[in-house]
C-alpha cells in the first residue's frame, strides 16, 4: 500500500479535531474500536459511536446512532472502523453531509484502504488518512508509544511533552 503521511499533517489533524464520529464502534470491550474510543476519550476527544446494530444503546457513556446523518452535533472527523469495502458508502455518506456537519477529515483505520473513496472525499475538499489508527498515531507522536518500544522515528533534543 505504501501510504505516507507526514508527521506534521497527522499532528495537525489530532490537534485540530475535537469531536469524532466513530463508525463501527463496538460495545464489546475487547474489540479494537472500543480500545480506541476509550483511549481517545481519555485524551479529551468527544467520540460519538455510529453502529446500526447498537443504535439507541450507550457505549462508554455516549449514545449510539444508526447513521452519520443521525448524529446531532457537528464533528470534524469520521473514523471508519469497518472494512475497506464498507468504507466506500460511509465516505459517500460523509461527503453528502460534510458541510452541514462540519466534517473535514475521513480517517480509515489500520488495514482499511479504499483509494476510490479517498479520491471522492479529496475531490469534495476533505482530508483523508488511510491504514492508520488515531490512537496509535496519537501515542506515537506524543511519546506514549515509545513506552512500548515502538519506533516513533522521532529524533529531537527538545524535552518530551509532559502528559498524563
Amino acid at each position: 500500500m505504501n501510504l505516507h503521511y507526514p508527521d506534521t499533517s497527522i499532528r495537525d489533524i489530532l490537534r485540530r479535531v475535537k469531536t469524532i464520529a466513530m463508525v463501527g464502534a463496538s460495545p464489546d470491550w475487547v474489540r479494537p474500536s472500543h480500545f480506541a474510543m476509550k483511549y481517545l476519550q481519555r485524551k479529551g476527544y468527544r467520540v460519538i459511536p455510529v453502529n446500526p446494530r447498537a443504535a439507541g444503546t450507550e457505549i462508554l457513556g455516549e449514545e449510539v446512532y444508526g447513521a452519520l446523518a443521525d448524529v446531532p452535533p457537528t464533528f470534524e472527523m469520521v473514523d471508519v472502523f469497518r472494512n475497506s469495502d464498507a468504507a466506500g458508502p460511509i465516505t459517500d455518506e460523509a461527503i453528502e453531509i460534510a458541510s452541514k456537519k462540519g466534517i473535514e477529515i475521513i480517517w480509515m483505520q489500520l488495514g482499511v484502504v479504499n483509494h476510490e473513496a479517498a479520491a471522492r472525499a479529496e475531490a469534495a475538499g476533505l482530508s483523508v488518512v488511510m491504514d492508520r489508527c488515531p490512537k496509535i498515531e496519537y501515542g506515537r507522536l506524543f511519546g506514549e508509544l515509545s513506552w512500548s518500544g515502538v519506533n516513533s522515528r522521532i529524533i529531537t533534543a527538545k524535552r518530551a511533552p509532559f502528559r498524563r
Binding site: 507526514p6 508527521d7 506534521t8 499532528r11 470491550w29 475487547v30 479494537p32 472500543h34 480500545f35 476509550k38 483511549y39 481519555r42 489500520l110 488495514g111 489508527c133 496509535i136 501515542g139 507522536l141 506524543f142 511519546g143 506514549e144 508509544l145 515509545s146 513506552w147 512500548s148 518500544g149 515502538v150 519506533n151 516513533s152 522515528r153 522521532i154 529524533i155 529531537t156 533534543a157 527538545k158 524535552r159 518530551a160 511533552p161 509532559f162 498524563r164
Partner: protein
Amino acid sequence: MSSETEKSGPIEYGFETRAVHAGAQPDPVTGARATPIYQTTSYVFDDTEHAADLFNLSRFGFLYSRLGNPTVSVLEERVANLEDGRAGLAAASGHAAQFLTFFTLLEPGDEFIASRNLYGGSVTQFGLSFKRLGWTCHFVDPADPENFREALTPKTKAIFLEVLANPGGIVVDLEPVVEIAGEAGIPVIVDNTMASPYLCQPIRWGADIVIHSTTKYLSGHGNSMGGVIVESGKFDWLQGGRFPGMTEPDPAYHGLTFYETFGDFGFTTKARAVALRDFGPTMAPLNAFLTITGIETLALRMDRHVSNAQTVAGFLEAHPAVDWVSYAGLASSPYRDLAAKYLPNGPGATFTFGLKGGFDAGVKMVEACELFSHLANIGDTRSLIIHPASTTHRQLTEEQQIAAGAGPDVIRLSIGIENADDILRDLDQALSAA
C-alpha cells in the same frame, strides 16, 4: 514538538545520529539529558480506572517493571530504530529474547527450520530444551538456500538464521531464504548479534524479526547482559490461520486479538504482554542504561573492530603456524561476495582460524596469550580468545561442532579496539609458544 526543519518534509537521519538519539528525549519533568536509570519496580495509578486500562492494554503506560520500564523502553526503541523495524522488546539475555520469540510464535507440536551455522548455545536451546516444550527444530546447511525449502513441512512456522554466523567467517545468503519463507507464508528470524545493525540490517533484506544478544557489540563493553527482539511490522500474520496466537482471541488476555488490535507492532506487544509477563526474563534498568550508552559509540567501535580484525586476519593467514583463517574479509574467503553484499561496512570482528599443530597447539596458544582475555563472550572492547570445542560449542557432538565451524582444531577470536600492533604482538608471541 514540531520543528522548522520538519515542515519541509521528514528528515532521514543517519545511522550515527540515530544511534545517539533514537528513543531518547530529555526528561519531560527535569530536563535530564542522559536517559535516567528508572530504578523502580512499579508505577502509581491515578485511580482504579487508570489501573484497569493499563492491565487491559487499552492505554499506554507503565505499571510494573517486569512488563516495561522507562529506561528499558528507550533501549527497545533505539534498537528497533537502528534495525529499521517497527518495535522492539528487551529481555534479560539474547537467549531469553529467543525464548520469548518462539513462545509467541509456536504452539506445541510446531516446527521451525534453523541454519546449522549458529551460536552453539542456540543449537542447544533449539535442539534440546525447545524439544521438551514440544517445539521441533530442523537444522539445515545454509550454504544452499534450497535446503530450507526442502525442510519445510505443514507444521513449519519460521526460519531462523545468522547472516554473519558465529563462530565466524560464514555469511548466509538471506535474500533467497526470504523468498522461500515468503512463498511458504512464514517469517524469517535473523540473529544479528555478530554483525550489529551498523554492519547489517536484515529487515532491509526482507527479514521479519531480528534478535540480538545486546551483551555483545551493542552494549559493547562486556559489562551488561541483555537481548532485544525487533519486529519489522511487515509480516502478515493472517496466513489462513497459521498463527492463531496472533490472529485469534487470546485466552491469556481476556479474549484480545493481538494482530487486529495492535497491527504492525502486534508481535512485540504479544511477546511483552503474554510471554514476558508470564515467564519474566526482564532486562534490568541498569543494564539497559549501560547498553544505551554503549550503542551511542557503536559506529565508531565497529569501524575500529573491523579494521583491527581485517589486519589480524591478514597477519594470521600469512603466519607459518596457521593452517587456515575463516574471515569473510579475506580475498581467499568463499564468502567474500556475500559479505560485500550484506555487510558493506565489513564482515564483523569475530572469526576463527585453525593451527597446524591442531588441538594441542590451540590449547597452548590460548593459555599463552597476555593481552587477549580467555573467556566465553564476543563483542567486547577487549580482544578475546577461546577454544569453542571445549567451551561455547561443548554441548554439541563432534559432528555438530565441525558442521558449525567449531571443530577441535578451531580457535575463535573476538578482536577488540586496542592498538592493532599490540594485538598482533600478543598473537605472535602466543603462536611462538604453541
